[in-house]
Assembly symmetry: C2
C-alpha cells in the first residue's frame, strides 16, 4: 500500500434518526492513485470506456470525481491487451481522474450464457459472437491490473436474488474462496481492491457473507446483489442489516444503485459510494431529473415552454436552453438532445451528492433529505 | 440598411494564376446583426436548429463564426410560429453569433412531392406526413423574418441540372420574378437578403440569370444549383463563368459546397461563403478529414494506433485521443465517436479557411493551395 492510497472518515453525523434509520451518514476522503475523491460520491458509468454521450471535459465541468468502467465489456472489446498497449484505461479514454472497474462478475452472470460454474471459475459464452471464455479470480485480477483502474473489484458469484437459500449459501462459499484467491494474487500497489458482500435478501446470509469477506483485509467493501428486482423497503432493510457488519474505517460501496431514494437511504446507513447506469440511460430515453421530480421531456406539452429544464440547476443545459428546445431536439432524434440530457442528469446527481456532503458536515443531513424529497415528489412547475 | 450591416473587401490577391484560374481570391468582413464574419468562410449546417452532434459552446471553441439553418425543416417542425414565440432562432437554439437561413427552395424541390408549380408559388406535400403546403416568395420572407436570421435567402426554383434548356429558361424567368417579389416585401432591417443565381451548367443561362438577379439590389449573391451531380471540372467552369458577372463589392456565396477541392477553386474565383452538410454527415459515418487525406476511422487497422487523428490539428479530439480510441468508439456505436468526429471535421474546415484567409493577406494563396493538396492527396501516415 502506497502512502497515497487510503480512506479516512472526515465528519460523522450525530446519531439522530433519518427516515426511520439511525443516521450513520459520514463524509470521507478516498485517496487514490489518480486523485482524492470526496465521499459520499456518485460514480457515472462508462461501460465501453466512455460515459455514454459525454466527453471527459464535460464530465469534469460537472464535477465528476471518479467514474466506473466495466471489465466484462472491455475484456470482450477492444480486449484488455489492447488497453494495456495504450498504457491503461486512463490513457486510452483520456480520463486522468480516478476510475473504478467492476470485476465482470455481474455481467458474466446476467448478460452471457453460462456454460459451467465450478469452484475454479466460470465458463461462459460471449453475448456478441457466442465465443467461449473462462473467467477465474486470477484472470480478473490480471485484466483489472492491465486496465490500471484505481479500484479493482473482486470476482464474485452473483446468485439470482430469488434463488433458494441452499443455492445462495453455496454461491457465498465460492465467492469467499474466490475473494481469498483474488486478494492473494493481486499485486498492483497503486490499485485498491474492494471485496463484495452478497447474500441475496436474507439478513442472516448477508451477515455470514460480511463476516467472511471482511475477514480478508480489502481496502473497501461493496454490497452487491441489491436493487435487482426486490421491493425498495427490502433493499433498505437488507442494506441496514449488512452495513451493521462492515468496518467503520473502510469505504462502503453500494453497487448499481442510483435513485435519489436509495442514495439517501444508503448515505444514512454510512454508504460512501454509489454507481448506476440509470441517469445516462434515462437521458437517452428523454427522462430527465429535476428538483421537482422526473420529466419526460419529449412530451408535446413542452413544445412551447421557455423555462429552463430545472431552474435550481447550474449545468450548461439548464443555463442555456429551454424545455421547448430540448423537446424539439428529442422529438427530432437529435444527438444534441441526448448529450444535453445526459449532461444534466449526471450533474443533477453530482450536485445532489455535493449538497449531501455539505449537509453532513453541517449536521443537517436529515433536514436536507426532507427538503429534497418535499420538492422532488411535488412535480411543481412541471406542467 | 443599418450601419452595422455591410460587406467590405479587405485584401484582394494580386492577379497571379491559381490552378489554371485567375486568382481572384479576397478576404472581407461581413458585418451582420449578430457579429462580424471574416470571409472567406465555411458555414456548418444546423438543419434542425442544431449542428448535428455538436453544442453551441463546442462550435464556438472551434472558431465557428456563422452557421446555416434550414427554413424548410424548421417550417415543418417545430414551425416558425413556435420559433417566433421563443424570440427567434438565435434564442431558440442558444446561438448568439450570425445565422444564415436558406429559403427552403432547394428542399421543396428535392425532398418533397411537388403537387403544382405556378408563377404564384409551389404546392408540395410534406415528406413527414403527406400534409399539403404552399410556399410563395412572400411566405418565405415571413418565415425567415420570424426566424430572425442574419441573412435570408430568396425563394428560387431549383431545376434539375440535367433539365432541357427550355425548362431551365422558364425556371429562371420565374426565379427572377420571385426574387423581385421577395425583395419588395422584405422589411426586416437587421437582416441581409441574398439573391440566388441559377442556370444549370450552361454558361449562357448563368450569365442571363446573373444579369437578372444582380439587377435587384440584394446584399449579396449566391450561386445555387452547382455540385449536384455534374463533374467537378464542369462545376468549376460554370462557377468561373458565373462569378464573372457578379459585382465585386458584394459577398458571393457558393451554396452546398464543402469539399476542399471546390472551396479552394471557389476562393480563387472570389467566392466568400460556403456551406455543406458533408463534414458532419461524413463524421457520423466515420469518415474524417486529415491533413494527409480522408480516413475511415472505423477500419480495423486503427485498432492499435496511438497516433492522434491528425497531428496538424489543434482540436479537442486530436489533442486528447488516439486513432485507436476513436476506432473503438465508432466500432461500438458510441455517440462520443460521432461527437469527436464531427468536432474534428468542422474544425478541419474552419482551420483551413483561417489559413486561406492568412495566405490571401500574405499574398501566397496559391502556394498554400499547392502545399495543402500535396499533403492532402498523400495519405502519408494513414496506414
Amino acid at each position: 500500500m502506497t502512502p497515497n492510497k487510503g480512506f479516512s472518515v472526515q465528519v460523522k453525523a450525530a446519531q439522530e434518526k433519518t427516515g426511520g434509520l439511525i443516521n450513520g451518514s459520514r463524509t470521507g476522503l478516498l485517496r487514490l492513485a489518480h486523485g482524492v475523491v470526496e465521499t459520499p460520491i456518485f460514480m457515472p458509468v462508462g461501460t465501453q470506456a466512455t460515459v455514454k454521450c459525454l466527453l471527459p471535459e464535460q464530465l469534469k465541468e460537472i464535477g465528476t470525481q471518479i467514474l466506473l468502467s466495466n471489465t466484462f465489456h472491455l475484456y470482450l472489446r477492444p480486449g484488455y491487451e489492447d488497453i494495456r498497449y495504450y498504457g491503461g484505461l486512463h490513457s486510452f479514454m483520456g480520463w486522468d481522474r480516478p476510475i473504478l472497474t467492476d470485476s465482470g462478475g455481474f455481467q458474466v452472470f446476467s448478460l452471457s450464457r453460462l456454460n459451467k460454474i465450478t469452484d475454479e471459475g466460470v465458463v461462459f459464452r460471449s453475448p456478441l459472437d457466442g465465443s467461449e471464455h473462462y473467467f477465474t479470480p486470477e484472470l480478473t485480477v490480471e485484466i483489472q491490473e492491465a486496465l490500471g483502474s484505481d479500484i479493482a473489484m473482486v470476482f464474485d458469484e452473483c446468485a439470482p436474488h430469488d434463488a433458494p437459500e441452499s443455492y445462495i449459501r453455496q454461491a457465498l462459499k465460492r465467492t469467499y474462496e474466490w475473494a481469498k484467491r483474488f486478494h492473494a494474487v493481486h499485486s498492483r500497489e497503486d490499485q485498491m481492491v474492494f471485496g463484495i458482500v452478497q447474500g441475496g435478501v436474507s439478513p442472516i446470509l448477508r451477515r455470514e457473507s460480511a463476516e467472511q469477506i471482511t475477514s480478508i483485509p480489502f481496502d473497501g467493501y461493496a454490497i452487491g446483489g441489491l436493487s435487482v428486482g426486490e421491493p425498495e423497503s427490502v433493499t433498505i432493510e437488507v442494506l441496514e442489516a449488512t452495513c451493521a457488519w462492515l468496518p467503520e474505517h473502510k469505504p462502503r460501496y453500494l453497487m448499481g444503485v442510483g435513485t435519489p431514494e436509495l442514495i439517501f437511504a444508503g448515505v444514512a446507513l454510512g454508504v460512501d459510494m454509489f454507481d448506476c447506469v440509470l441517469p445516462t440511460r434515462s437521458a437517452r430515453h428523454a427522462t430527465l431529473y429535476t428538483s421537482s421530480g422526473k420529466v419526460h421531456i419529449k412530451a408535446a406539452k413542452y413544445k412551447r415552454n421557455r423555462e429552463p429544464l430545472d431552474d435550481q440547476c447550474d449545468c450548461y443545459t439548464c443555463r442555456h436552453f429551454s424545455r421547448g428546445y430540448l423537446q424539439h431536439l428529442y422529438a427530432r432524434g437529435e444527438v444534441a438532445g441526448m448529450v444535453l440530457g445526459s449532461l444534466h442528469n449526471i450533474r443533477f446527481l453530482t450536485a445532489m451528492m455535493e449538497k449531501i456532503r455539505v449537509s453532513i458536515r453541517e449536521n443537517r443531513f436529515d433536514a436536507y433529505r426532507k427538503a429534497f424529497f418535499d420538492r422532488y415528489h411535488s412535480q411543481i412547475g412541471l406542467g
